[in-house]
Amino acid sequence: MKYLDEFSDPVLAARILDDIASRVTKPWSIMEICGGQTHTIIRHGIDQLLPGNVTLIHGPGCPVCVTPLEIIDRALIIAARPEVIFCTFGDMARVPGSRTDLLQVKAAGGDVRLVYSPLDAVRLAQQHPDRQVVFFAIGFETTAPANAMTVRLARQLGLSNFSLLVSHVLVPPAMTAILESPSCRVQGFLAAGHVCTVMGTKQYEPLVHRYRVPIVVTGFEPLDVLEGIRRTLFQLEDGRFELENAYPRAVTSEGNAVAQTVINEVFKVCDRQWRGIGLIPQSGWRLSAAYADFDAEERFDVRGVVAQESANCRSGDVLQGAITPPECPAFGQECTPRRPLGAPMVSSEGACAAYYQFRRIDIAAPTRRGSAPVS
C-alpha cells in the first residue's frame, strides 16, 4: 500500500542491515528520541536485527511518559469536577497519577472524553455552553501547532467555557540535559522527524558542534528508522559529527513557518518538570500572557497541587540510558505495566514496558541477525 508498504520493504531492509553489519566495527549506543520511533523499533523487532554491539537507547520522546506526575494529578482534580468535560488523547487516559487515572475518574462519574483532535474539544464547548470543557494539551513541538490553533479558534468564537491544561515539552533542551548528564552513554541521536517538520532542523546545529555528536533527523516507518541508524553509525565509524536529514520528504531546514508563528503567538517558553528526569530549564511551553485566560490551571486553581514521584523508581536513569530497565530494583516487582511507578512502564512503547513484555520470553538471543529462524 502506498506510503506504508514501500517503507517496510523486507528486501531494502535487509540491504540496509547488511550495509550496517559490514561497516560496524565497534560497540555504539544510539538514542532514538521519539516514542514513535521506539514504537516502530519494538513493533518491527528492529533492535534484534542490528549487530549485537549496536545498542538502541529509548529516549524521553514519549509525551505520555514524560508528562509530570503533578500535571496528571491536576488533570485528575479538574476532570472530577461536576461542571467539567475533560478531553484527552486516548493513551493519556490510562497514565496513573499519584492515586488514580482518568479512566477511573470516568468510572467514578467524571465526564472524561477521548478525542482525536483538539478541535473536537472546541466543538464540545460550543455544544455545551453550560459546561466547562478542558483539553489536555500535552506533547512535543509536533502537537503544539494544532493546540495553538485551537486556542486561537476558541477566542475567535468567543468561547468562555473552554480552556487548556498545557504540558508541552521541547526536544532540544531534553537532548542538552541528556548530553550534560555525567552518566550519558549516548553517542549519536536519531532526531524526531515530526518535531523537525514543525521546527526545522537548524535548531540542532549548535548541539552537533557543542557536543560533537552525530544527529540524524529520522522518520517513523521501518526503513526510515533503519536508514537513520545506518547514517548515524556511519558517522560514528568515520569519526564525523554532522546534522543529517534522513527524512527529507517531510522535513526542511526551516520547518513550518506558519506553525511556528502561531506557536509563538499562543505559547511562551517556560521551565518544565519531566517525569522521571526532573526540572529541565526552558524545556516547555505554557500559554502566553495574551492567552492566559484559557489556562485551565488558573481557572481551576490547581497550580498549587504538587506530587512526589516514587523514590524507588529509577526511570530518570533509564530515560537517559544510564541503566537498562531490569537494573532498576523496582522493575517487575512493585513496578509493572499494570501498576507503573514511572513513566517508561506506562506507555506500551516506554523502555521499561517494552523490556517487561519481552522478558517474558527469551526471544532476543535466537533472533539476532545471522541466526534468525526461517519460518
Binding site: P10, L49, D91, G139, F140, R338, R360, I361
Partner: protein
Amino acid sequence: MTAPAFDPSSWSCPLPLRDISTIVMGHGGGGRLSGELIEHLFVPAFAGVDSILAQLGDGAVLDVGGVRLALSTDSFVVRPRFFPGGNIGELAVNGTVNDVAMTGAIPLFLSAAFVLEEGMAIDELGVIAQSMGEAARVAGVQIVTGDTKVVDSGHGDGAYITTAGVGLMRPGIDLGPHRVTPGDVVIVSGPIGLHGIAVLSVREGFEFGVEVRSDTAALNGLVAAMLDGGADVHMLRDPTRGGLAATLNEIAMASGTGVRIVERDVPVPDAVASACSMLGLDPLQVANEGRVVAFVGRGDAQRVLEVLRGHPLGGEAAIIGEVVAEHPGVVVARTGIGGTRVIDLPMSEQLPRIC
C-alpha cells in the same frame, strides 16, 4: 460436606482486582481486565475451578441425558446501533450463533432479551427486529423465546440486546485448547479488523476514503464445511473483542503451547491498515464479527484452507502461523522486515496513541 455459608460482609475483592475498585470500560474489552474479572470474581462465585465455567470457552458443552448440547450467551451494547455492513440486531444473532458454532455444535435455537430505553423510536426497533429475523433465517436458527424490559430515559443507551443460543454437538467432535498441540497450523478465514474499524468510523465520524464494512456474518455454515468433511480440526474461535491478538493469547495460555505467526501472512485490508496506522491501533487487536481462527492438524491444513476458500465467507482464508512447544502461553510474530515481537494480550480496549 456442605459448602460454607456465604457472608457478604466478609467478602473482599480478590487480588489482583483490588487495585481497581470500580468497573472500568476495560473490564468489558475482552482483554486482560475482562479475564481477571471472570477468573477471580465470577468463577469463584458461580462454580469451582474444576467446573465447566472454568474452562472459559465462548460456549459450554453440556451432557444432558447422554445428549451433548452447546450453550452460549452474549450481550450487545454496540454504539452506534447501525454501522456500515450491519446493525446491533444482526450482530446479536450472528455473535451467539458463532459462539455456539465454535464449540463444534450445530446452532439450533436462540433467545433474545431486550433492554430498551424510554424514548427509543419503535420504527428503529422494528428495523432491528427485522434484521434479527433475517439473520436467523440465513443462519438456519430459530429465535424461540425472549424478554423485553424498558428503563427510564437516561438509564440506557437506546437498546441493549442479549441473546443465548443452544446447539447440538456433532457426534465425535471434540474441539478445545486441550486438543491444540505443537505442529498445529493456524488458519484465519479472511481479512481482519473490518468490524472494529467500521464501527469506529461511524462512531467517531472518520472517513478513510473508502467505506469499511463490518464483516458480521453467521459462521456455522463455514464451520460445517470444515467439520463435516472430517478434517483434523483441533480448535475454533471467532476473534471478536480484543481481535486476533486476544484470541491467540487465550488459546496459547489455555493450551500451554506457544503460537508463532508471520505478520505478513495475516490478511489486513488496506483500509484497515491505514486507519490503524493513522490512529495508532494494532490491526491484530481490532474486533472481528465474521471470522474464524482454526487450529488444524498439520496434515490437514491445506485441505481445510481449500474448504474455507471454496466457501463464500472464506475466500481470503490464509495460513498465518503454527503452534510450537517453545514459549508456552506466549504469541510471537515474525514482523514484515524479519524481526520478531511478542503479541501481547491487550490490557483493555485499545486507546488511540498521541504519537
